[in-house]
């Protein structure tokens, strides 16, 4: 809704506020003096009706609200009861059933924030509850009706990455009837799984089980594979993504290529096949492996000498076109599943193992191509140095993984594939080969894994627990001497092996940073994509409509990737199956008349928005793309000319709350700004857990700490607040709006020294990170701040305030806020 209309609505309306006070059995009534609260509420401006209920959330209680709205013509409703995090949706529904806009409703949290946490000081608790109700009324007086927006949904999906996870997501989506584009960077779908020989713990042939699935994907009428292509850009929002893709030239016309391979046979040029981890070669015109889907040949112009023998061989099929150009494709999709997978770490930079230096040191993925019957050695495990089968092979685990200097995380599947290699070798070469595994911990914690470990032991693989400290090469034999510590024996050992296989870390795929930028999703400290919530939204990206599948989020084995692929498809279907998508109206709105970007180049909002939802084109007012806005309010606080407002959390509303809270005895109060997801929830938990703390704090709920404007702090101190606290989610990753807490921190880090310079005792302004689980911490912080406040003493606070007030007044006046 345009701001001017809101203004108009405000001016013409006569306010009729109803306050419903809940006993919550004895949960509230047992501590607070309900009668006093009722009488108090009646005295508040524009309050025309006050009613108490034993249980407001129960049907009779809700009936009372509906009745009240109808009979007393209420246009604002306050429920003073539990936390809004508990019952706000319930009561919003209740008021809208009675014909009132759900955003004309507010809760005063007098249970978690008062009766439950101050049981031994009922008088003070009642006073606090009064303030809470008063603050709710003050805010509600400024409420405006808001409409939930609906955007149309394009019921097509894009899956980025054609590995086993992406393939499964695409297949499931296609089966549900949604048109699905499967974007693959490489020449063929299949991913890492198609490179593997066998899968653990069943020893199924990998390509034999994946191949048919690849064919299914290729043949499905609802799936369009876009292979050998790059994702260029993604714009738009949930339900309405616009995607730009560049299809790279294969110099072979897909529709004409029959996959016969006659061109490959005549091609004279060979080059190292990356698919084979460069153990073998492929032709300049070829497919990476025979089962490739789509089966289209590709010319590698880096190596091709353009003899055109392939053109002759292709003949009448005319599939080869040396003048093919990159092609840009634009797609419109409703959701995006990201399944970009992982890379294997190649430990060139780790001198410990001599990888790249010693001929007979290889990685496990190279070993995989070596033992694979369709691989470059037709399944013969041979040493590169002499082409002979080794008699002793040492496997070294956790190369790069679980290494604080490299990749601190566990790569998940290395233990199991090494067990698989051990079993394969033992079954293939029996007594003719000795297998030694140097490991830190053997992690075999899924179905059938432990039994597989047992099988490897029974087959005679030797396990040595201990970290390898160094590998040396014997120059004459090219054998390798391994220095390690056997922690079972508690002594260093030296061991000679003819081949060393390194189980290296699974690392974020090359280009993950670029992909994160294009998709506007975040990455964790490990570099993998960050899910929206590690427990309850493990598949969702923080950006609505984008979902993760497979190892792009963290290393995963095949069954896990497959399940996550299906999970992502299911999550995507929750969007795609709807004709429209509802968008919460608690979003940021720009006042084009105030926006500075019209005259000077500003764009601060666009830069600070964690979601890239704001567009600030030169000479034009900034524009919030409503469907992309998550309603954190960071831009509102950052805007230098106060041109942005957050609906339902406007500056005016929050100022009203601040002023109401500090109306009486401000120097005895702590004003707290609590972010909805962590600190507010933490404060709720303190109440639910009955952690008692002094009733000094007057909390104001904001969606994100990023919303806390410095003007709020200035206003609080101008009004003489004893203490001010900003509560946020923990750094670095807890913020529910990606980085709102960081933006707040930067802002407050600059503000605090300024206030101190003006004469404020440093302890009077505090930024605290409280998670939703840290009820104890919240109680502790309030207790500590109260003690500090008392230690400073009213007099000192008042003196400081007197000194501060004129300066703050001037600052706020200049902005027209007072």
């Amino acid at each position: 809704m345009a701001q001017k209309e809101i203004q108009k609505q405000a001016e013409t309306e006569e306010l009729r506020i109803g306050v419903f006070i809940c006993h919550c059995g004895l949960n509230i009534a047992g501590v607070l003096d309900i009668k006093e609260l009722i009488e108090f509420a009646k005295t508040l401006p524009d309050v025309v009706y006050v009613k108490d209920n034993r249980y407001t959330c129960a049907d009779p209680g809700q009936d009372e609200i509906r009745k009240g709205i109808k009979e007393h013509n209420l246009n604002r409703v306050i429920v003073a009861a539990c936390s809004p995090r508990m019952h706000e949706p319930t009561f919003r529904r209740t008021v809208s059933e009675a014909g009132l806009n759900p955003f004309l409703f507010e809760m005063a949290n007098i249970r978690e924030f008062s009766s439950w946490c101050h049981p031994s000081t009922p008088k003070e608790a009642t006073e606090k509850a009064k303030d809470l109700i008063k603050m709710a009324v003050a805010k509600a007086r400024l409420f405006r009706s808001l409409e939930t927006m609906e955007v149309p949904v394009t019921n097509k999906a894009l899956v980025v990455g054609g590995g086993i996870a992406g393939m499964n997501a695409a297949l499931d989506l296609a089966e549900m009837g949604f048109k699905t584009y499967l974007l693959e960077k490489g020449e063929s779908i299949g991913g890492h799984m198609a490179q593997l020989d066998k899968t653990f713990p069943t020893l199924d042939c990998s390509i034999c089980i994946e191949g048919p699935k690849m064919v299914d994907v290729g043949r499905h009428p609802n799936i369009e594979i876009i292979s050998f292509a790059d994702l260029l850009s993604v714009s738009g929002f949930i339900g309405n993504f616009k995607v730009k893709i560049r299809r790279n030239p294969r110099y072979v016309i897909a529709d004409n290529c029959t996959g016969c391979g006659e061109c490959r046979d005549v091609c004279p040029i060979e080059y190292p096949n990356e698919w084979d981890m460069s153990l073998g070669v492929r032709k300049a015109i070829s497919v990476p492996f025979d089962q490739a889907v789509p089966l289209i040949y590709t010319i590698n112009k880096d190596y091709c000498i353009e003899c055109f023998k392939c053109v002759d061989a292709c003949g009448a099929r005319r599939a080869i076109n040396f003048e093919q150009e990159p092609e840009e494709i634009e797609l419109e999709v409703g959701t995006i599943v990201v399944a970009t997978g992982y890379d294997i770490y190649l430990p060139y930079d780790d001198p410990l193992y001599g990888y790249g230096k010693y001929t007979n040191v290889i990685t496990s993925l190279e070993f995989e191509r070596l033992i694979l019957a369709a691989g470059p050695t037709v399944g013969k495990v041979i040493r590169a140095s002499d082409g002979k089968k080794p008699h002793t092979i040492a496997f070294i685990q956790c190369v790069g993984s679980r290494d604080t200097n490299k990749y601190p995380y566990c790569s998940n599947f290395c233990c199991m594939y090494t067990l698989k290699h051990a079993v394969q070798l033992k079954e293939k070469y029996k007594e003719d080969i000795e297998v030694y595994v140097f490991y830190m911990d053997m992690r075999s914690n899924f179905k059938g894994f432990e039994e597989f470990y047992q099988r490897a032991r029974e087959l005679g693989a030797n396990f040595i627990r201990g970290r390898v400290s160094r590998v040396f090469e014997v120059p004459e034999t090219k054998n390798l001497i391994i220095h390690a510590e056997d922690t079972m024996l508690g002594q260093p050992i030296e061991f000679e092996a003819e081949m060393v296989v390194l189980a290296t870390a699974a690392i974020p795929r090359k280009g993950t940073d670029e992909m994160a930028r294009i998709l506007n999703v975040t990455r964790g400290a490990d570099g993998f994509f960050m899910e929206s919530h590690p427990k309850l939204k493990p598949i969702d990206a923080p950006t609505d409509g984008i979902f993760f599948a497979g190892s792009c989020q963290a290393p995963k084995d095949i069954p896990y990737s497959v399940s996550q692929g299906s999970g992502a498809a299911g999550r995507a279907a929750t969007v795609l199956s709807k004709p429209t998508w509802k968008i919460e109206p608690i979003i940021a709105v720009v006042d084009p008349d105030k926006c500075r970007n019209v005259k000077t180049k500003c764009g601060i909002c666009a830069e600070r928005c964690p979601y890239g939802a704001i567009k600030a084109e030169e000479g034009k007012p900034a524009q919030v793309r409503a469907a992309m806005c998550h309603g954190c309010g960071t831009c509102v606080a950052e805007c230098p000319s106060d041109a942005i407002t957050q609906m339902h959390f406007t500056d005016a509303q929050i100022f009203a709350q601040i002023r109401t809270a500090l109306e009486s005895n401000p120097e005895d109060k702590i004003l707290g700004f609590l972010c909805n997801w962590c600190s507010y929830a933490g404060a709720d938990l303190a109440g639910t857990s009955r952690f008692e703390y002094p009733p000094t704090i007057r909390p104001i709920r904001v969606m994100c700490s990023g919303r806390v404007d410095r003007d709020f702090i200035l206003e609080a101190f101008r009004l003489g607040a004893g203490m001010v606290m900003v509560g946020a989610c923990h750094l670095p990753y807890d913020c529910h709006y990606i980085s709102g807490n960081y933006k707040m921190k930067a802002r407050m880090d600059a503000l605090a020294p300024m206030l101190q310079k003006l004469g404020l005792s440093p302890e009077r302004f505090r930024v605290e990170y409280v998670s939703a689980a840290e009820g104890v911490k919240f109680a502790e912080v309030v207790r500590e701040m109260t003690e500090q406040m008392h230690a400073l003493g009213q007099d000192k606070i008042k003196v400081e305030n007197e000194k501060l007030r004129p300066i703050l007044e001037r600052m706020l006046k200049r902005k027209g806020l007072i």
């Binding site: 005549v266 004279p268 060979e270 460069s278 073998g280 070669v281 003899c307 190649l346 050695t377």
Partner: protein
């Protein structure tokens, strides 16, 4: 084993290698044989070979340019190996000198048409061996028992029974024809493989400059005239390798044009391109016309934007 790519540059040789777990590609340039001509640099389809001119030191003879090969660009196709007139480059796969481009008929071989009829050789004559500017010819004598005779003079009376044998290291022969001309009996017939035109305009040559002559590997192809003290050409022996052109300090003083290359028959885009760079688009169109490859000719014309007469 991960792919290893190596480049080694010593005084004797430049070697490039791809070492894969199961295969080893190697390109070796013998610096003693390389004359710093243009052929490989022009022929390389990946433009991986560069010529590095050597600075001239006052009072010393000019040095021929050195070649450098970019490991990033080289694809071990062996076209340089095939075309090098002096046989300075060898590409091997797993130690074997297999030319995949030739085997797959995607590149021709250079024809070295050297006919020797040693039966006509006078026993005492070693003219060809002495004449060869690259020391590629070895004359030996075989006794009736097919054994090599070491000292011919010691067998003076039996000389008539000796059989003369001429061994030529053909793979290194640039076919300059000097041996043919020096041979008194017409035993040797050599046909050039690179044809063309070379022209020096002495009036443009700087005073006292003999750089082209200094680097020319074929004795007699260039000579210093006693009259004007300038370098002149004897086209009879020139192999059109272009080593002289590379070092010539003055533009247009030395013009070199190749017109054709004698090669085994082939229909290959790679060869057409190589020829285009070695000779000129006109020459390639002539060759295509001769072959009747109308379609390819059309595409060449389309690319160049003009029509062949």
């Amino acid at each position: 084993m991960p792919l290893k790519t190596l480049k080694k540059d010593t005084a004797e040789a430049l070697t490039l290698e791809w070492i894969l777990h199961i295969r080893k590609y190697k390109l070796a340039l013998d610096k003693n044989l390389c004359v710093g001509c243009q052929i490989c640099t022009l022929a390389c389809p990946k433009e991986a070979i560069k010529l590095e001119k050597q600075p001239k030191i006052l009072g010393e003879k000019a040095k021929h340019a050195k070649i450098d090969i970019d490991l990033e660009k080289c694809n071990f196709c062996a076209i340089c190996d095939i075309l090098c007139p002096y046989g300075a480059i060898e590409v091997t796969v797993n130690g074997e000198h297999l030319l995949s481009v030739v085997e797959k008929e995607s590149f021709p071989q250079l024809i070295r048409d050297i006919q020797v009829d040693a039966s006509k050789c006078p026993v005492d004559c070693v003219e060809c061996e002495e004449a060869c500017p690259l020391d590629l010819i070895k004359v030996t004598w075989l006794a009736a028992d097919r054994k090599t005779v070491e000292n011919v003079d010691s067998l003076s009376e039996k000389k008539g029974e000796l059989q003369v044998k001429i061994d030529i290291q053909e793979e290194r022969c640039p076919c300059c024809r000097i041996c043919e001309f020096k041979c008194p009996e017409g035993v040797l017939t050599v046909r050039k493989n690179f044809h063309g035109k070379i022209d020096i305009q002495p009036e443009k040559c700087p005073e006292g400059c003999t750089d082209c002559l200094d680097v020319c590997p074929i004795t007699g192809a260039l000579y210093l005239s006693d009259e004007d003290k300038k370098v002149h050409v004897n086209e009879m022996f020139c192999v059109y390798c272009g080593a002289c052109k590379v070092v010539c300090p003055v533009e247009e003083a030395l013009e070199l044009k190749r017109t054709s290359v004698r090669h085994t028959p082939v229909s290959s885009g790679a060869w057409n391109k190589a020829l285009e760079r070695l000779a000129s688009p006109v020459e390639i169109s002539k060759e295509l016309k001769a072959k009747g490859s109308r379609k390819v000719l059309e595409s060449v014309e389309k690319r160049l934007g003009w029509k062949m007469v």
